[in-house]
Structure formats: C-alpha cells, structure tokens
Subunit: 244 residues, 2 copies
C-alpha cells in the first residue's frame, strides 16, 4: 500500500444527516485538513445507516480514489453498522480485536465491559485500530479505508492521528479578495485570466450584502508567487471593469 | 413524469466545498425541507466543478432516485458549468432561453445585458426555468432534475419554488429526549426496542459535555402516537439501566 495518499474521497454515514437533524461537520473539517496538506478531495458522499448502501458506495469510492475516509456508524447501538459493512467490502470477518478488548478491560474493568462496549471492539479482520485521546473505542484502518467516528470531537482526534498518511506533492495555498461588483460584469474577463493560468483554481463566490453586489474571488494553487501575480491581474481587471 | 417525488438525491457542485473553503449549507436546508414533506433523502454527493464528474454523478443519481436536486455552478463565471453538464446528461443542446432573455432585457436594459448575464440565460433545451424573487437568473427543471443555485439565499428561494413537486405519502415526525448515560450502557436494550418497532427510525447521538456522558435519543416516523409510545418505553428502559 502506497502512502501518502493524494486523491481522497469522504463517505459520511448517518440517517441524522440525511433527515436534516444534524448539520454535517466532519467532511468540512476533513476538507480543510486535506487542503492544507495538499491532498485533492475528489468527492464527498453522504448515505444512510443502510448496509447495502454503505457497501455499494464504499466499493465505488475505493476504486476511484487513493483512499477513503468514512465518518459515523461505529458506536455501540443497533444502527452502528459501518464496521460490518467495511468487513463485507474487504470480504473479511468482523472480529473482537484482542488488544482493544485488553485496553477496555484495563479501562472499564471486567464488570463494566458491556455488550455495547464489546461491540465497539469489533474490527474487520486485519484492520489496524485508530486510537485517539477522546475515545477508548477505536476507529479502524484497513487497506486504503480509514473508518472514523461520527461524533465531531472524536472524528477530529482520530483524523489527526491518521493525517500523516495523507500528503500531496505540494501544499495548496489560497488567497482571496473582496469584490463589490456584480459577478456578471467581470465574469468574461475573469475567465480569460483563468485560461492564462490553467494551474490555478480561480473561483468567484457572490454573497448577500443588502442591495449592493458583493462577493469574493478566490485563487488557489501551489505556487504563492503565481497566486499573487494572478490576484494583481484580477485587481487590475476589476478596476478596468469599474471604470468602463 | 410522476410527481410528487418521494425518494430524492442531492448533488452539490463546487470546488469551494471540496477545498474546505466553504461549509456546505444547501444540502442541510434541503434535507430539512424534504424531511418535513415526508420525502426520503437517499444520498448527498458533493463533486467539483468538473464536467465529467458532474455528468457521471448525475447519471448515476438519476437512475437510482425519483428526482435529483443540484446546487451550484449556474452563475456567469468560467467555473459555472452545471447547465452544460445537465444538457449533456439529457443529450440536448444548451440554448439561450428566450423568455429569460426577455426578462433580463426588461430588467437590465440592452446595454447592460453582458455576456455573463446572457450566459445565465442558457438552459438545457426543453428545461423549464425556476424563477425566484432573489435572482433574475433562473434555475432549471428538466426531467426529474432540478438545477438550483449555490448561493444559499437563492438556493433557498428556488427550492421553495419547486418544493410542491416533492411530497411523501405521510409527513415525518421527529421527537428526541436527552440522555445522561454512556451509549454503551443502553445500546443493547435500545436495539431490542428498535426490533419491536421496525417502522420507526431510532437513533442515538452522543455529544460532548465535559466528563459526564450525555447525548440524545431520537425517534422518527410517520405515526405520532407510536413515536410517543416508543419514547415512553425508551424512558422506562433508561430508568431501568440507571438502577441496575
């Protein structure tokens, strides 16, 4: 298995996100972290706590990307079926992980090692546990799949523990400027600048600011000097548009 | 085409989401709206401003769901390619929509009808424009695909304009209770309640509250009387767990 991974997908698992109960936060955090280490996040998929959907989506993403990070469905309750689905994907059994059981025994004691807690010690056979400070129940790393928790602070802590496996060739840098013009007035000129700098990702993001047009133009790439040059050209272009 | 749609997917398009620049908000809003009208949101996909990815993902989602709502990529700039991708999916040309051009002419006047603005009047041939109060540039409705803006207040307004096409057989109701116990202590008992009420969706969502365990148990379904009964059983179960 080659690490670091460069082209990544995220799979969010949870009825609570699809029903609108919970605003998803983990994909957003991971997206920021991956950007900062120069990884390309190619896709995010959000699916329900439904084993066939998880398996089907994970199989698709595994084929298309270097690595997949999943979030959610690894707790002790009936709807926590991600580990089972991942075991299914890799065609391995889901087994109690001995070292994890030993850690739990030391932490909780024999009497408090409930069925629910034992359930959280079950990992796909061959997976490496992902340990973090916020939970004794581990995530799991198997193949190019990283199975993390859905609870945000545990997800963040587990992600930090595996982020070393993710790294692009160069880190991305992003800079943006405010724009007080309607997007349509500068769109064509901005497109011409983008054409001249195909390695840069230039985006325009209008916002809502009362009756006046406003928004931001964002330039990202790996070469800071070029980003600054592109931003200078954009600023000049915006001045020219304003004058005309 | 049969409406109302009951089983829906959302496709979010935008580099700014995948790079972590922007926290996605539109899928969350749509998820809440769809839940409230009894529609099942089956999947959310987030992809980049990349035509082949948009086409490939939209084709997949169109096959699997009654309807697809897209968000993003319909502005005037070079990276706004959603309408082109949708036209490609339906194998129709992307054409200036005459009524939309007429509306823009009336609104901006001939002199201010820039290339960027004309670009936003191009719809896949056969699409019906989705008009809202916040933007003269329309979304588009073609087949079972609803193409909406990415800017949140425009997305919300366009979604409101088409929500009449989405309706489940019965609306969903959700109720939840606070729990001050570790999830693993009641997980098995909660699973047994879920087994007895297969039509209910019972979820447990731990949170972070200092050193004490805390979280919520959430029950949703279409029959309020059953929801109340299930919640009563859960409350009793939690009392029994606490005593034991």
């Amino acid at each position: 298995m080659e690490t670091p991974h460069q082209h990544v997908a995220i799979l969010i698992i949870g009825n609570e996100v699809l029903s609108g109960r919970t605003r998803e936060a983990n994909a957003w955090l991971a997206a920021q972290n991956l950007f900062d280490v120069g990884c390309k996040l190619g896709e995010v998929a959000i699916v329900a706590d439904d084993q066939s959907m998880i398996v089907q989506t994970l199989q698709r993403l595994r084929k298309q990307y270097d690595a997949v990070i999943t979030s959610g469905g690894i707790g002790p309750t009936h709807d926590d079926i991600t580990m089972l689905a991942v075991a299914d994907c890799f065609d391995v059994p889901l087994l109690e992980h001995e070292d994890t059981i030993a850690l739990m025994l030391a932490y909780y004691g024999q009497d408090a090692l409930s069925e629910g807690r034992r359930r959280m010690a079950r990992l796909p056979h061959g997976a490496v546990p992902i340990i973090c400070e916020h939970s004794i129940a581990p995530g799991a790393h198997i193949g190019h799949v990283y199975v993390l928790a859905g609870v945000p602070h545990i997800f963040a802590s587990q992600l930090a523990a595996v982020l070393v496996d993710f790294k692009g060739k160069q880190v991305f840098i992003r800079q943006e400027i405010e724009v007080a013009l309607a997007e349509s007035t500068f769109a064509a000129a901005l497109g011409k600048i983008q054409e001249r700098y195909p390695s840069m990702d230039i985006g325009s993001y209008p916002a809502r600011c009362g009756n006046e047009p406003c928004g931001k133009i964002c330039v990202s790439g790996v070469d800071e000097a070029v980003i600054i040059q592109v931003l200078d050209e954009i600023k000049q272009m915006l001045k020219d548009v304003k004058k005309s």
